[in-house]
């Protein structure tokens, strides 16, 4: 906030020039196709570059995501079973064209924030999708292990084993996963009593990553606003970029750290205030790690076997030695 107050017209010009220089350097260093490679990955979203593809019917990242993900979800059964007792069916199959929020058929969208920087009105466009958190409660607490954090950093929901209970959505600080009712394994068990479809979200194009390619949205971006690469490298680059534009980082500490870093010339709390928020339209506010408060007790659980063994061995030897003494005394 204080930082932003210091931004006057001259300051903003300087920042913009620096962003342009660093940005140009960034373009040159944006990983080439397939450079994401193996090991821990991270992606960088440079908000100084994203222009929301205002000249296109829908932003390129959304268009390409829709294109490659179309047909990935099976057709929902008709009629979709009505869950007891909530009677809440979530069917997006008839609104597949929606591109202005997250849906099971729209895994990335671009938010628009009108903010004032140094007395000047500015529009910042923010591509939004799963952050692929470092320790995602959505995955670790999935009761069926249908959601998993892979070694490369991607958090992927297995649509064949997901019951659509939406626990992941509840636990996600940004409520990213979206539910499509009428599909999935729950239909084969107790469709009205247990589960309600399949949860769907960005999987960082895991199949493409396996082939050594980049996620489709990253390659589709005409402004090269998004990049992916080895985590250390991307983190370093994001920090360098933020420093050079006197800007801000988001995703480094949020929810305990993520594999997605946003760099913005505007404080994220300002962007958060300016964004339209609601279901499928997440904010950009502070996000404490959901599971932080359970870590201490989790460590105690892991120590419990040792405590039990120590107590058992000590108790048994104490009793045996007592018995031995008694036998000795009794002659």
């Amino acid at each position: 906030m204080e930082k932003e107050m210091r931004l006057n017209r001259r300051g903003f010009f300087k920042t913009a020039t620096a962003a342009a220089i660093v940005g140009t350097a960034g373009v040159l260093t944006v990983p080439r196709r397939g450079e994401a490679g193996e090991g821990k990955l991270a992606s960088l979203i440079d908000l100084t570059r994203c222009d929301g593809c205002v000249d296109r019917p829908i932003p390129a990242c959304i268009a390409t995501c829709k294109e490659i993900k179309t047909g990935r979800l099976p057709e929902p059964v008709e009629p979709i079973p009505v869950p007891f007792p909530t009677r809440k069916v979530e069917d997006w199959s008839k609104k597949r064209e929606v591109s202005t929020r997250l849906t099971p058929y729209n895994l990335i969208f671009v938010q628009k924030a009108n903010v004032e920087v140094g007395g000047q009105a500015k529009t910042v466009f923010v591509p939004r999708r799963c952050m692929h958190c470092d320790n995602p409660a959505c995955a670790t607490l999935c009761p069926f292990a249908a959601n998993h954090k892979h070694e490369n950093g991607a958090v992927v929901i297995d649509q064949d084993t997901c019951f659509g209970g939406a626990k992941c959505q509840t636990l996600c600080p940004w409520q990213i996963p979206q539910r499509q009712s009428g599909i999935g394994v729950y239909l084969k068990v107790m469709p009205t009593l247990m589960g309600n479809g399949v949860m769907v979200k960005c999987d960082l194009c895991s199949d493409l990553l396996k082939e050594g390619k980049n996620p489709a949205c990253i390659d589709a971006c005409p402004k090269k606003a998004m990049s992916i690469g080895p985590r250390k490298e991307i983190y370093g680059r994001a920090e360098e970029l933020a420093k050079s534009i006197n800007g801000y980082l988001y995703g480094k500490t949020e929810n305990g750290g993520t594999s997605t870093l946003y760099v913005s010339p505007v404080p994220f709390e300002h962007l958060d205030r300016a964004l339209r928020k609601g279901p499928g339209e997440p904010g950009l506010g502070a996000a404490k790690r959901v599971m932080a408060e359970t870590d201490g007790m989790g460590k105690a659980v892991l120590a419990a076997p040792l405590i039990g063994v120590a107590a058992g061995v000590t108790g048994a030897f104490a009793l045996l030695s007592k018995r031995k003494d008694r036998v000795k005394k009794e002659g």
Binding site: H150, V290, V301, P305, A311, G312, R323
Partner: protein, 256 residues
């Protein structure tokens, strides 16, 4: 420990205080684990369990995980203590014996009026089999739970295969634990077993019941100490006037 018989009060000590603590630590923490584990499924909000007084927290996955962890510490410490303490003391009273399966079937038949019960040791054959079954269930639940906890705290990107196996075995054995728990409670509903309820609450059962149903146990306690090994040689206190001379305990599972 000493095993006491009170002719006057018609009581015999069946479980030591340590055994009672172990049993109830496992039982109560196990119940809390069942409940909090159930609330890790997204059911509480859906089925309005949150509206039940005292269960407002049931839809809060982090709250139920915290409770699950606290109960896990008690459960795991009790289970490992039990294994090592009784293992080192060579307490074998609850270890299944040859022929227990066939004997159990015969005993179950008697519950339905077919035949007569044979004389029992301290534990019934089906109790020994149930103990083994419960031990296997608890072992799997603990091992898979530890993997899941390690993943939650330190390694969210643990191999997916390992997490899948751990999660599904944890879930399946969670259901088996419920069934075993129901069977355990169900067995106590049967009339011949009811006198044992007092035993697990107070440590003592009726002496006439023990004489009638567990004569092998009483006989074993009455046997000369040297016959059962010096390690088990402890005096049996008798509280009633004119009762038998002090007897050594059977040393099997009554512990100090």
């Amino acid at each position: 420990m000493s095993v006491s018989i009170s002719e006057e009060k018609n009581r015999i000590a069946r479980h030591g205080s340590l055994e009672l603590v172990e049993h109830w630590a496992l039982a109560l923490s196990g119940l809390i684990l069942l409940l909090s584990g159930m609330f890790e499924l997204p059911t509480a909000a859906r089925y309005k369990i949150t509206a039940i007084p005292g269960l407002w927290w049931s839809s809060d996955f982090i709250a139920s995980l915290s409770i699950h962890y606290v109960a896990s510490v008690v459960f795991i410490v009790a289970a490992f203590f039990h294994l090592f303490y009784h293992g080192l003391l060579n307490d074998r009273g609850l270890i299944p014996q040859k022929g227990d399966f066939r004997a159990s079937i015969e005993v179950i038949k008697t519950f339905f009026g077919k035949g007569e019960e044979p004389p029992f040791d301290k534990y019934l054959p089906e109790q020994r089999l149930a103990y083994l079954g419960m031990a296997v269930i608890i072992a799997v639940i603990i091992l898979t739970g530890l993997v899941k906890t390690y993943k939650n705290v330190y390694a969210p990107d643990l191999a997916h295969g390992l997490i899948l196996w751990s999660t599904w075995l944890h879930n399946i054995f969670f259901v088996l634990f419920i069934l075993a728990f129901a069977g355990h409670i169900g067995a106590l509903v049967l009339k011949p077993n009811r006198p044992m309820v007092r035993g697990i609450l107070t440590g003592k059962v009726r002496l006439d019941y023990a004489r009638h149903r567990h004569p092998l146990w009483l006989a074993e306690m009455s046997a000369p100490a040297e016959a059962r090994g010096a390690a088990a040689a402890e005096p049996m206190k008798t509280e009633a006037a004119g009762s038998a001379e002090p007897h050594p305990s059977n040393g099997q599972s009554n512990n100090e």
